[in-house]
């Protein structure tokens, strides 16, 4: 249902401006040229017809041909998607690895300077624009220290900086969730019971509190992955990485609508899928929801 609406939206979005052919043929193109291009692209047919036609083919994975690259959109995406997905997965892993331990730390030292420091760092992380962070990292690690490549993904070192930048999108949210979940858990009756049973501190924290605090965090990481992918365009442009985000940016700048439509739709579907996944993971982890 949501997908269908997004389908209509992404179609409507890219057809909203009527002078598509002009942007392809150039502003000084003759009327005949424009009519010719319009006809070639099927743009002279009524909109609903165009839509049904496009949606039907989209459902079969056929998004038509790129105006610019003169290549099938589906193969363009196939070519660019793996990089974006790989970066996204690395980034979410980095985010979990950073956010969860620091969230736990802040919760265990609730109200102390450690807690305040972690909170301020999280807020600052939220405040730093990711494109600027990317540029600064390039300056420090790529140019200053010369440890890491400043662009591209020629070997694994190329993945480091972009995934850090992408992870920054998710870290503050996940950190706060871990912290507040952990604080609640440590105050809960069941943790008091665990202490009354004389369990060692490590098993109170790691078994009893963490499990309950981590359930929503793990579930939400799927949604965060969706946001990370949605934000990939900025990072890919900064690091000059040929992923789907970069492809979309290039296409937008040149009015290559079949590609834009396809990418917007793709991201939407991925997001909806990840939201669903998040619910499923949440249900699978929580015994109270399992088997319902």
């Amino acid at each position: 249902m949501v997908c269908l609406t997004v389908l209509i939206l992404s179609f409507g979005l890219s057809r909203a401006s009527g002078n598509l052919a002009i942007s392809i043929a150039g502003a000084d193109a003759s009327a005949e040229d424009i009519a010719k291009i319009n006809h070639e692209l099927g743009l002279d047919r009524p909109l609903p017809v165009q839509f049904v036609d496009w949606a039907n083919r989209a459902a079969h994975g056929d998004f038509g041909e790129s105006f610019l690259f003169h290549e099938k959109v589906s193969s363009l995406i196939e070519e660019h998607l793996p990089v974006t997905i790989t970066l996204g997965l690395i980034a979410i892993a980095v985010a979990v690895v950073v956010a969860v331990p620091f969230g736990i730390l802040a919760a265990l030292y609730e109200g102390t300077y450690i807690d305040v420091a972690v909170g301020v760092v999280a807020l600052a992380g939220q405040a730093i624009p990711s494109f600027w962070l990317g540029l600064m990292l390039i300056l420090w690690f790529g140019v200053g220290l010369q440890w890491l490549p400043i662009a591209g993904l020629d070997d694994w070192t190329g993945y480091i900086l972009p995934s850090i930048v992408l992870a920054f999108v998710a870290i503050p949210v996940m950190l706060r969730m871990t912290r507040s979940g952990m604080v609640d858990a440590m105050r809960s009756d069941y943790v008091r019971t665990a202490r009354a049973k004389g369990l060692a501190r490590i098993s109170i924290v790691a078994k009893h509190a963490l499990r309950n605090a981590a359930m929503p965090v793990v579930a939400v990481s799927a949604v965060q992955l969706g946001f990370i992918l949605g934000g990939s365009v900025v990072t890919e442009v900064v690091f000059n990485i040929r992923g789907v985000g970069y492809l979309a940016w290039e296409s937008i700048g040149k009015g290559d609508f079949p590609v834009i439509q396809a990418v917007v739709l793709l991201f939407s579907i991925i997001f909806v899928g990840l939201t669903l996944l998040s619910d499923l993971v949440g249900a699978a982890l929580d015994p109270r929801l399992r088997g319902r």
């Binding site: 009756d189 069941y190 008091r192 009354a196 049973k197 004389g198 369990l199 078994k207 015994p287």
Partner: protein
């Protein structure tokens, strides 16, 4: 000295001068009490008078922000007031068990009953998983849980409130403790389940020779199961006696208020809530002097604002009020 009695020194639990404060407010203001083997000592009082704070302080389980001080905290002949958290943890769940008020939230929703029970035995007895499971099943059976083997695989949310409280009891008794502290163990349960649970506790106590510190605000429970009673008000024990003595001659005006001033013993029925006394338990700041009950007491005099020493109605019956031991006989 509060209104309490010096007793033999071989008691299972001996508490002297226990204080708990939250910020500038004193929740427990120097209480003394002791519980002997095979004895049930009831701590009664209105909500907020410091019962839970006392119990948690004895267990070393106070929440962050609470401060405890205690002159003597004896357990089975040892002083445990100065033990490190690690040493204290070794006692908890092993030689001292505790049951809480709300069985719905006191079990971890994410783990099975089996996991939560066996971890106690694995921790304190070093038992292997299967041996621990055997013991857990036996204990569940003992506390009257039907189909105990199946329960091990279930999660807390799959059990009723009464069953969960039985699981909590079984869990607290797994290592055969010498002292059991139960903080309002039946308050959250249905009336019929309450009765069953109390009967079970009484039975287990007799059978295992447990010392039980039972917190309640149900005078019916006190009348039925307690050997000794401490009445608590605003962080102090205002009257302490054997159950018979207390019900026969309640002497502190607060106790009399709780009993609705019924002069004839045995008239308190099960399920009777504490009698309603106008006013609320005041919060007591540090450095407070005098009787804390004075703004609710019908007999308050200016002298009540000064320090009130404890008095004895009988060798086994102490109270803390300016009034003579038999004052109430005149008004009855």
């Amino acid at each position: 000295m509060s209104a309490t009695l010096k007793r033999s020194t071989n008691a299972t639990l001996e508490v002297e001068g226990l204080r708990v404060s939250f910020g500038g407010m004193e929740a427990v203001r120097g209480i003394d009490l002791s519980v002997e083997r095979g004895e049930t000592h009831c701590l009664v009082g209105e909500s907020g008078c410091g019962k839970s704070a006392s119990a948690l302080a004895i267990m070393g389980l106070l929440p962050g922000g609470a401060r405890r001080s205690v002159r003597r905290l004896g357990f089975a002949g040892d002083e445990i007031g100065k033990l490190s958290e690690r040493r204290m943890a070794r006692l908890r769940g092993d030689r001292i068990g505790m049951i809480f008020q709300d069985p719905m939230t006191s079990l971890n929703p994410a783990y099975t009953i089996g996991s939560q029970m066996t971890e106690v035995l694995r921790r304190h007895r070093g038992l292997a998983r299967d041996k621990a499971a055997e013991r857990a099943v036996a204990m569940l059976d003992r506390v009257g849980v039907t189909a105990p083997g199946m329960r091990l695989g279930q999660f807390p949310h799959q059990l009723s409130g009464g069953l969960r409280q039985r699981v909590m009891i079984a869990m607290a008794l797994l290592c055969e403790p010498t002292l059991l502290i139960a903080d309002e163990p039946t308050t959250a349960l249905d009336v019929t389940v309450q009765a069953q649970t109390l009967r079970l506790l009484a039975e287990l106590q007799r059978e295992l020779g447990l010392a039980v510190l039972l917190i309640t605000h149900d005078l019916g429970v006190v009348a039925r199961v307690a050997h000794r009673v401490s009445v608590m008000y605003a962080g102090e024990i205002v009257e302490q006696a054997t159950t018979e003595a207390l019900f026969a001659a309640p002497t502190h005006p607060y106790t009399r208020g709780l009993l609705d001033a019924i002069p004839v013993p045995g008239k308190v029925r099960r399920g009777d809530k504490l009698g309603s006394i106008p006013g609320i338990v005041p919060r007591i700041p540090a450095g407070f002097v005098g009787c804390a009950f004075r703004d609710r007491c019908a007999f308050a005099e200016p002298v009540c604002a000064s320090n009130i020493p404890p008095q004895f109605a009988s060798p086994d019956h102490a109270y803390r009020c300016r009034m003579a031991p038999d004052w109430w006989r005149a008004t009855a």
